[in-house]
């Protein structure tokens, strides 16, 4: 066998070939030959190294492990002389380190543990080989070779994995129910539509690690005995739909989807279905109606989907994050997964931090991490040095948690004890300038709008609540409004058909529970303590600080401000529309809001 002191691996993927990789290889061999190095340096072909569109043709030189990029035949003589003859690394061909800042997913902080998001931003989502190189589809191979479907269900049961869509139902139990149904046709469905507004972890997983979802779904199909699966994706996520379709196509080409997967007797295929913009379609029965091509209206349960789901057949529905967690549980074992988290909530959860926090974006922490750690250690604290007022979790059906509970360890149980929910993992941080009545009104506006209208408590109840809240924010709150809100909330919760209605009163109930004094101030004192509700605030100009510079008067859109130059100005409250522009433009903090 011949020994070489150095090996050169040149990328010959299609894009690099287009850009002249073969010509570079020929030139290399020619030059090595003429320099008398041909017996010392071996030139080999390899698949892609870096992103060929950015770097191709490129090559790796060993033993140094140097990555030379964007090569042309003209560069070769110089490169050979410098590197192989003189032994100097040629700086100008080195890979340019481009600092790409990931706006959504920063470097993990010490409190974080990335399991579901482990591949996001690290692999090329449109290249199945990238996923495979990160132990992708190894779990699938493992179960097809060594596990019975019952054993797969047992692994998921033992891991303690719970549905990441919000309700936290044990995933293994769900699979078991679907497994025992004795019918020939069953379906596996991925709910990629339930993201609460602001909870974009599912979009991120679909777009940056699509194969983890595909693999998780195939494993679920094997476990419950299904041969067909659907990914129902929101229409608001066009890129996710595209990425998933590419992933499915690539998996098919490698025989990871389709007939006799990996040579086994198990066959399974996947299809993507796109929604058309309806929040309620995240509810599982509404989602199935939408896949069937109907209005996405929920129906009463039972029968549960595991018994009677899509097209009347037993179906297993999990969300994106749940499926994406399955492969790694199979690979690393149920015991490993169950060792992370709290007693009843195992593993990690992704959260989308938004609002008045320094670091917004996606995070992943073990269950049991406290809200304080999430807000301050991971989120970097409150913006502009302000005070934290409340943490809102669970999306529009969630609740607002006040600062006195900031040391609560987060899991499914603790959040529901506080009147909120886990939801898909949206966390909105609110600072001292937030009016809690206005926030309750805002969420109610959303649910009222998204109510599908099928059942009366939700359709009419949410509207009545919204009317009352709007009245209160406008300064027309009446005695008895708080009691009516409480009564309505109870009724809607108890009598609605699906999770949307049952959860709709949560923002109202939690703000009434923890911030009742703000409701009282709005209704009885006609004041908005956070100075947000326009019907309850007045703008005036302070005599001392005002220099009479006329900036406010010139910027007022309705000409409500009058006054001579260098004289204290005045605002006419009857004309003022409380837009707040004067306060923004004033350089002397002379505008007072009461």
């Amino acid at each position: 066998m011949k020994f070489f002191r150095s090996h050169v691996l040149v990328s010959v993927d299609p894009k690099s070939l287009e850009r002249g990789a073969h010509e570079v290889i020929d030139a290399l061999n020619d030059e090595l030959y003429s320099q008398g190095l041909i017996d010392e340096v071996q030139v080999l072909e390899t698949s892609r190294i870096g992103d060929p569109l950015r770097y191709g043709p490129d090559m790796m030189v060993y033993p140094e492990g140097v990555h030379y990029t964007n090569l042309s035949i003209d560069d070769v003589p110089f490169l050979v002389q410098e590197h192989f003859l003189k032994g100097r690394i040629v700086e100008k061909f080195l890979e340019k380190e481009e600092k790409v800042q990931d706006e959504e997913l920063g470097t993990p902080t010490p409190k974080e543990l990335r399991i579901v998001l482990r591949n996001c931003g690290k692999i090329d989502p449109n290249n199945i080989e990238d996923y495979i190189s990160e132990e992708g589809y190894l779990a699938l191979g493992k179960i097809l070779a060594d596990y019975t479907p019952e054993e797969v269900v047992q692994v998921i049961l033992d891991s303690g994995l719970r549905g990441r869509g919000g309700a936290g139902f044990p995933t293994g139990k769900k699979w078991q129910f679907a497994r025992v149904s004795q019918t020939k046709t069953k379906y596996v469905i991925c709910n990629a539509d339930e993201g609460d507004p602001g909870a974009f972890m599912n979009r991120r997983i679909l777009e940056s690690d699509p194969h983890s979802v595909v693999e998780g779904m195939i494993i679920a199909g094997y476990a419950i005995g299904a041969s067909m699966g659907y990914i129902y994706c929101r229409a608001e996520y066009p890129l996710a739909v595209k990425t998933m379709n590419i992933a499915i196509q690539q998996a098919r080409e490698l025989g990871l989807l389709g007939k006799n997967i990996l040579g086994s007797s198990f066959s399974f295929d996947l299809e993507v279905r796109m929604g058309a913009g309806a929040f309620v379609c995240g509810e599982e029965t509404a989602l199935m109606a939408s896949i069937e091509g109907s209005r996405g209206e929920p129906r009463p349960r039972p029968p549960f989907p595991a018994v009677k789901g899509l097209w009347g057949q037993p179906s297993n529905i999990n969300n994106v994050e749940t499926y994406a967690t399955v492969p790694i549980i199979v690979l690393k074992g149920a015991k490993w997964y169950a060792s992370i988290g709290t007693e009843k909530s195992k593993g990690t959860k992704t959260f989308a931090l938004a609002g008045d926090v320094v670091n917004t974006g996606l995070i992943e922490v073990p269950f049991g991490t406290t809200l304080r750690e999430i807000v301050y250690d991971v989120g970097g604290g409150i913006k502009d040095g302000k005070q934290l007022k409340a943490v809102q979790t669970g999306g529009p059906m969630g609740g607002c948690i006040p600062t006195e509970y900031i040391d609560t360890p987060v899991d499914y149980e603790t959040l529901s004890e506080l009147g909120s929910i886990m939801g898909s993992g949206g966390i909105i941080i609110m600072d001292e300038d937030t009016c809690m009545v206005d926030i309750a009104r805002f969420f109610m506006e959303f649910t009222q709008d998204e109510s599908c209208g099928k059942c009366v408590p939700c359709r009419i109840g949410t509207r009545r609540i919204l009317e009352i809240l709007t009245r209160i924010c406008d300064g027309n709150g009446r005695d008895g409004d708080i009691e009516t809100l409480e009564f309505l909330s109870q009724q809607i919760k108890a009598d609605s058909l699906c999770g949307l209605g049952q959860g709709a009163p949560n923002p109202v109930e939690t703000t009434l529970k923890y911030f009742r004094d703000e409701y009282v101030a709005h209704i009885y004192d006609k004041k908005c303590p956070a100075k947000v509700c326009k019907g309850l605030i007045t703008f005036s100009i302070l005599d001392g600080p005002c220099t009479g510079c006329t900036v406010c008067a010139r910027n007022c859109p309705v000409n409500a401000i009058s006054g001579e130059r260098r004289q204290t100005h005045a605002i006419d409250p009857d004309i003022c529309i409380r837009c707040g522009i004067c306060a923004q433009v004033c350089n002397f903090n002379a505008i007072s809001i009461n």
Partner: protein
């Protein structure tokens, strides 16, 4: 709208999904994209080709936000109405849009240029407030940017 154009749009959408009734939503989505909205004639045509009652087609067409049975403006503005955008100043931007265009949500300007709608979370909350005009996304909006952005469209 001309009959030919409608028929053509329906034909290509129905063919694309092999006249599969379960694909009614993607079919309507396709037609909505190519025609800008779903005219009555198109709905009737879809019903016939899929052998589905017109009531069913209508019920689906009116349920989903991204399907419209009303004629839309030349440009459609979708403003994100979700909480993460709201808490970072979305309301002021929304007010600026309404005031600049002098229309409310769901309305079209009299000259047929703009339709103003809201959309639920687009999942790009890191750059809120966010809006989409046709297929173009605008993030980190402030109220004073609105007139400038709108003036780029004709």
């Amino acid at each position: 709208m001309e009959k030919d154009k409608i028929e053509q749009a329906v034909q290509s959408a129905v063919d694309r999904y092999d006249a599969n009734r379960a694909e009614l939503i993607p079919i309507l989505n396709d037609i909505n994209r190519s025609l800008g909205y779903l005219p009555r004639e198109a709905l009737a045509e879809v019903g016939q080709r899929l052998k589905t009652p017109p009531s069913k087609v209508m019920s689906v067409a009116t349920f989903y936000r991204m399907l419209s049975v009303e004629k839309m403006g030349r440009h459609v503005i979708q403003f994100c109405e979700s909480a993460p955008c709201h808490v970072v100043g979305g309301k002021a931007v929304w007010d600026s849009l309404r005031e600049t265009l002098e229309i409310e949500a769901g309305e079209t300007t009299p000259d047929g240029k703009w339709t103003l709608t809201t959309v639920s979370c687009l999942g790009i909350c890191g750059v809120g407030p966010v809006m989409v005009i046709d297929d173009e996304v605008f993030g980190s909006l402030t109220p004073d940017q609105i007139p400038g952005i709108l003036s780029k469209f004709n």
